[in-house]
């Protein structure tokens, strides 16, 4: 809808400039748009498109990290990958992480935003406190929590009087990473919610108040519906980011796969195959599978959005 209006507007504008504008006379024959977009497109082609195509090609070969002696092996890598238990296991770990993180972060971010929005004093202070962890590099956040979770000298067990082997038992290892991630990244979604809350027109609440709606009703009938859009965004962004989890998981486990391999994520597995086992071809095939999964999630979201818009219409 925007594009059509843009075209109808730009055509007369062009015709006008073509008639007598010195700009067009100077730049006769070349298309401005190409020059505007060219610098970005060159980088994009080199570092996004080309690696994607190269990954597709490599996934059909037995390439190793040194790059020589490569031969074409057809779909062998893909059949091996579909049969590789570690592919499914690591995909499962990433999915499990996503399943834990996304609901927690969405609810927590919403609650924090409600809190910060409704406290009248010191707004900047709450924003600072909740958002600050997000400003730390992932590795610093992970190192910090690695130490907080340390069974002997860590603060977590000390403060709560626990003896939980957070990082060394397979049933706690992933939740520990989830807690780290919550603390570290909730600030981002919190800000999105806060911005959305501030965008809700005040008269809606005033009208509801006149109608005698209590606070709970106002939240359920005004705030939540008004935040539907941003919730969809937060959930989608978090799903895509969580499926690609890597940094915290490896740093907190000293670059290992965790107790009994329980925190090996999908990204970690592709890098292990490519850089530890030197199987660049196989790693590429696994990456392409991952790309397909990510693309499917992204497309599903677009499809859902479109359906909803049509539903509204």
């Amino acid at each position: 809808m925007t594009t059509t209006s843009a075209e109808t507007v730009i055509r007369p504008a062009r015709a006008k400039t073509a008639a007598g504008s010195p700009a067009v006379r100077r730049g006769q024959g070349f298309q401005h748009g190409v020059w505007f977009t060219a610098p970005f497109l060159v980088l994009f082609a080199l570092f996004v498109i080309w690696p994607l195509l190269r990954g597709l090609y490599l996934s059909l070969t037995d390439a190793n990290i040194s790059g020589d002696g490569t031969s074409f092996i057809g779909l062998d890598n893909y059949t091996e990958a579909l049969d590789d238990p570690l592919v499914w296991e690591s995909l499962g770990h990433s999915a499990y992480f996503t399943l834990l993180v996304v609901p927690c972060i969405t609810v927590l971010a919403f609650l924090l935003a409600m809190l910060a929005h409704h406290i009248e004093r010191g707004k900047w202070l709450w924003r600072l406190c909740f958002f600050m962890p997000f400003l730390l590099p992932s590795t610093v956040a992970a190192n910090l929590w690695q130490w907080l979770f340390n069974p002997g000298t860590g603060m977590i067990n000390h403060v709560f009087g626990l003896e939980t082997p957070w990082l060394t038992d397979k049933s706690y290892a992933m939740p520990a990473i989830v807690i780290t991630t919550l603390w570290w990244t909730v600030g981002f979604s919190f800000l999105l919610y806060l911005a959305a809350l501030q965008g809700i027109p005040a008269h809606l609440y005033e009208a509801a108040e006149l109608d005698g709606a209590n606070a709970w009703h106002r939240v359920v009938h005004i705030t939540l519906p008004m935040l539907r859009h941003v919730t969809g965004l937060v959930v989608a962004l978090q799903i895509l980011a969580s499926l690609q989890v890597f940094d915290q998981a490896v740093v907190i486990q000293d670059f290992g796969p965790g107790p009994e391999g329980s925190t090996r994520t999908f990204v970690q597995y592709t890098l292990e195959q490519g850089f530890t086992s030197y199987r660049v071809g196989y790693a590429s095939a696994v990456s392409i599978i991952f790309f397909v999964i990510i693309a499917a999630v992204a497309l599903a979201r677009m499809w859902l959005l479109r359906n909803r818009e049509e539903g509204v219409r």
């Binding site: 020589d68 082997p165 009994e260 850089f275 030197y278």
Partner: protein, 452 residues
């Protein structure tokens, strides 16, 4: 109001412009900030994986080398131990940005694609700086030679040890007249010893720390005891898996029993073993690199090779070795300096022995200074009965084999899987690995992907 704001804005814009320009200038130079500061003629970049006490000793040796050779600058970098180190080294070599000198575990050399990611040592240069084959254990030297060329210069042999607290064992009546731990020759005896020791152990302490959750240590202990039972991995031609699941089950049950009988506390996980030992736990199974840790903690302790609970003596052993990561233009003064540095450190390994390692350069072993070292002299015999991983491209410290099989061993020790099922899983992993091709040359172990 407007004017000072404007000035500040101009100042900020100026500063910002300078930062951007400076950054681009720096990026254009393309070298790290550190290289700019260097003025020496010959600069050897040396990567190692030594942290803790080892790192301390290595730096001391480097410092004495620097003092004796002022014309050579040594830029040492310590990377995190384990697979990240090998990943970084391989990627640097593949990208033709390798350091001049590196350190590796000897078991990893075959899988590290000698000739492609590693360059061979120049024997004449080594001889010039005083390193000769005759001064090394022949078995060790043989492991470093591939296709007739030397790819690794061994620095040490390091083994898994059974550390014991003399004070606690004395209380429990487990210390012999010679001040050493009583001899143990069977699993039952071993658990009797633990039982007695537990009675003498202080409150809140476990009896033994054995890295229950650590896939590397559990795998090393498995290799040691499996070798004690006379277990094998593959036939000589590397075509068949000869892994004995019955023997493996026996070993796994033995490891597991330390938890079920209450001698090791699974809640303490890995690293706590050393802390517990320092605080008074009677036993800890650790690598010999913990010697300086316990020395500084001033505890009264001894160390023997892992007890021969299955009859034969055998303890897991690996070696650190110097390597020359592949550089397309290797040669010249820097390369010679790399040879000189490696030769110097190998020959001056007395300091290295203080870190608990058994020096590979045999003349060191016969010096009085070495014989006086305690507990090093108690376990120096371990080098005669080494249990090592099978010789194949996927083996070696934190290699593919260890990464695949290590977690499986842990799952048995921690009790999340039954020992016999785990033994069968190990066998199937070994079968898969034996059939798989070395990605670097496309050959399986049987086709010579091993070339041990």
């Amino acid at each position: 109001m407007g004017r000072p704001g404007l000035n500040r804005r101009q100042l900020l814009a100026g500063l910002g412009g300078l930062t951007v320009a400076g950054s681009f200038g720096f990026a254009a130079l393309g070298t790290g900030a550190d290289a700019l500061a260097s003025g020496a003629d010959t600069r050897v970049r040396y990567w190692n994986l030594f942290s803790g006490g080892d790192g301390y000793n290595m730096i001391a040796m480097l410092d004495s080398f620097r003092a004796e050779h002022p014309g050579i600058e040594v830029k040492d970098s310590t990377l995190q131990w384990g697979s990240p180190f090998y990943t970084k080294l391989a990627m640097a070599a593949a990208g033709n940005r390798a350091p001049d000198l590196g350190v590796m575990h000897l078991g990893r050399v075959t899988g590290f694609s000698p000739g492609r990611l590693l360059d061979p040592w120049d024997m004449e240069l080594l001889a010039k700086y005083g390193v000769r084959e005759a001064d090394f254990n022949p078995e060790l030297w043989k492991r470093a030679v591939i296709d007739g060329k030397l790819y690794a210069l061994p620095l040490d042999i390091h083994v898994q040890l059974c550390y014991y607290r003399k004070d606690v064992l004395k209380k429990a009546g487990l210390l012999g007249a010679d001040g050493r731990m009583v001899r143990v020759t069977s699993a039952d005896q071993w658990f009797d010893v633990l039982k007695e020791a537990k009675k003498a152990t202080g409150k809140g302490l476990q009896t033994i720390g054995l890295w229950l959750n650590d896939q590397n240590f559990q795998w090393w202990f498995f290799v040691a005891f499996y070798t004690q039972l006379g277990g094998t991995w593959f036939d000589d031609a590397h075509t068949e898996v000869t892994f004995d699941t019955d023997k493996a089950t026996q070993v796994l049950e033995f490891l597991r029993r330390h938890i079920t009988d209450g001698y090791a506390n699974p809640n303490f996980g890995g690293g706590a073993g050393a802390e517990q030992f320092v605080n008074g736990a009677p036993f800890a199974w650790e690598g010999n690199w913990s010697v300086p840790v316990f020395d500084t903690a001033k505890v009264e302790y001894g160390a023997t090779p892992l007890p021969p609970v299955f009859g034969e003596q055998a303890t897991h052993a690996e070696s650190h070795a110097f390597v020359l990561p592949h550089q397309s233009g290797r040669g010249g003064a820097t390369d010679e300096a790399a040879h000189q540095l490696a030769a110097y450190i190998v020959r001056h390994a007395q300091q290295w022995a203080a870190g608990g390692h058994i020096p590979a350069y045999t003349p060191t072993l016969t010096t009085d200074a070495y014989r006086k070292l305690q507990p090093q002299s108690e376990y120096v015999s371990a080098m005669d009965h080494q249990a090592t991983e099978p010789k194949a491209w996927f083996a070696g410290s934190t290699g593919i084999l260890a990464q695949r099989v290590g977690p499986i061993v842990v799952s048995s020790t921690m009790g999340s899987a039954e020992p016999d099922a785990v033994a069968r899983r190990m066998k199937s992993e070994l079968t898969t690995l034996l059939a798989s091709k070395n990605p670097m040359d496309g050959r399986t172990a049987a086709q010579g992907g091993a070339v041990a």
